[in-house]
Amino acid sequence: MAEKELLKGNYAIAEAAVRAGCECYFGYPITPQTEIGEYLSQRMYDLGRGYVCAESELAAINMVLGAASTGAKAMTSSSSCAVALMQEALSYACSDEVPVVLVNVMRAGPGLGYIYPAQGDYTQAVYGGGNGDYKMIVLAPSTVQECIDLTYKAFYLSQKYRNPTMVLADGLLGQMMEPAVFSKYPYPEIDNSNWALTGAKGREGRKICSVAPSEEKQIEHINNLFKKYELIAENETEWEEIGTEDADIVLVAFGSMTRNIKAAAKVLRGQGLKVGMFRPITLSPFPSGRLNELSNHVKKFVVVEMNMGQMVNDVKLAVNGKTDVELINRSVGQWLSVEEIVDGVNKFIPAGVN
């Protein structure tokens, strides 16, 4: 039985990658995720696995694309403004169906944005900053334990669906310490012998590329990608909800803000309000269906996020006008406190109600 250890989020992600069987890590330093590359530089060397201090984030993500095209489990990690540099390769990797794993420990933006934590890359991650129609799988941990569990899952899902998968953490989570356990990697290994580049021995050469030889084939290729995305949504959409059965108000957050809406929901319950919480674990695919079901009895969703209002748009799309959707937010920096959330929710309640 594995013991609980006091772990920093970034180290938890790095060691989880090792235990998930990551064969190659390529990275370039950027705060607040640099510990991932620092840790792996020694660990991967000791294990005789691949590690390159890449010359840029452009190079790093393309090294991952190359390594993963051979069927190897490969990963890079970075943060916001540097993940922006990787968007071209992610578009390629989605079209090429290469199982890239990418960790984004978000910092402030736009631009350089400094190193305050933030959640401003929701849209970049979920809708993609690259060209064309594509979708990544995006997993959002809220605790150091989930940094481990969802890093495991990112490797598994990326291989299972041959699709780039991102762990979307934030500077708060990357830098904080809390007890967590390294359980054994719980997923089966995926056989990739039918597509990986291994040398054309006893078969014709394989070609991994995003260019189809005709308009018809290109359309067919994109349609097939989107059939896959539907399948992923059907099989893998994941969320957490507490106290939603009788809730009039449901707080919605992702990532480490989940911690504060859980606490705020308890406080508000203590004040006699019927408040629940909901948090997508997969941001892509987004649990729209469940939010829509909840909107049959929930009177108000309050989205709490550290950006100018990004996930709130997906919640609005999910409930499709059936229920009010409000936003409590701050752009970057100090996380919205439990008190701020409680006060914010109370402001949305008309006088005399309750």
């Binding site: 390159v52 190079a59 190359g66 993963a68 095209s69 390629y92 014709e204 070609k207 590329c209 260019v211």
Partner: protein, 251 residues
């Protein structure tokens, strides 16, 4: 007597889509002949680039992946680090290798990656219709330097093979041309060396190939080869700029 045979490493029934008189066809054939002769086809992974050079994966019967523009050497690094037992090579144009991809190309050489790089230098962006590029010669007219390249505004062309030779991790760097039979034979020798240094684990093997682009140069194939001889070779001299092996084959 059989005097010519299509190499086994070429795809069955392939048809070149290069313009008439373009030297890409010769370069691809040399690569294919060497894959046959060195018995590399079954262990090869090709990283293709963007531009006319991308079509290599339609002609060679090897495992291949396309790289985003300029990123071929980064992808090749990933492939080789994951599968060190494979023979990994790139085939890029001068714009891909030395303009948008110069950082990746240089750092792969500095790290001494066991990779082989082939760069086709035709002094222009061929696929997009003949624009000014990193190797465009002073005075050369292109669609984006219609008055001819002049240094005050456009700067100077890069000498790629010499640049790569300066990197300590480079095992072999040479420049060759395809304008005469003698030069073609030398080119094949250079490519063989660039492949062999990878197989021997000596580091980065690189060959820059001076090549024609008759369509965008607005020349006949013969005129284009005359230009290689009279204008390109004086600016981009042929030769071996680095060779860490003991017996240097003078190209």
């Amino acid at each position: 007597m059989q005097v010519f045979k299509i190499p086994d490493s070429m795809k069955k029934g392939f048809k070149y889509t290069f313009c008439p008189g373009c030297d890409h066809g010769i370069a691809v054939r040399l690569v294919a002949e060497l894959l046959d002769e060195m018995n590399l086809k079954e262990k090869s992974i090709l990283v293709a680039s963007i531009g006319c050079s991308v079509f290599l994966y339609d002609f060679l019967d090897v495992d291949s992946i396309e790289a985003p523009h300029g990123r071929a050497m980064a992808e090749a690094t990933g492939v080789k680090r994951a599968r060190p037992d494979k023979f990994v090579f790139t085939y890029q144009g001068d714009g891909d290798f030395a303009s948008i991809g110069l950082a990746e190309s240089t750092h792969a050489a500095l790290r001494g990656e066991n990779l082989s790089g082939i760069c086709i230098n035709n002094t222009t962006y061929g696929m997009t219709g003949g624009q000014h590029g990193p190797t465009t010669l002073i005075g050369q007219k292109t669609t984006t330097s219609p008055m001819g390249r002049f240094a005050e505004t456009y700067g100077y062309p890069i000498k790629i093979a010499e640049h790569i030779a300066l990197c300590k991790g480079t095992a072999y760097s040479a420049r060759v041309a395809l304008d005469t039979v003698a030069h073609i034979n030398q080119a094949k020798k250079a490519l063989k060396k660039a492949f062999q240094v990878q197989l021997d684990g000596l580091g980065y093997g690189f060959v820059e190939i001076l090549s024609t682009c008759p369509t965008n140069w607005k020349m006949t194939p013969d005129q284009a080869h005359e230009r290689v001889k009279n204008e390109m070779i004086p600016e981009f001299p042929l030769g071996v700029f680095k060779d860490v092996t003991e017996n240097i084959d003078k190209v």
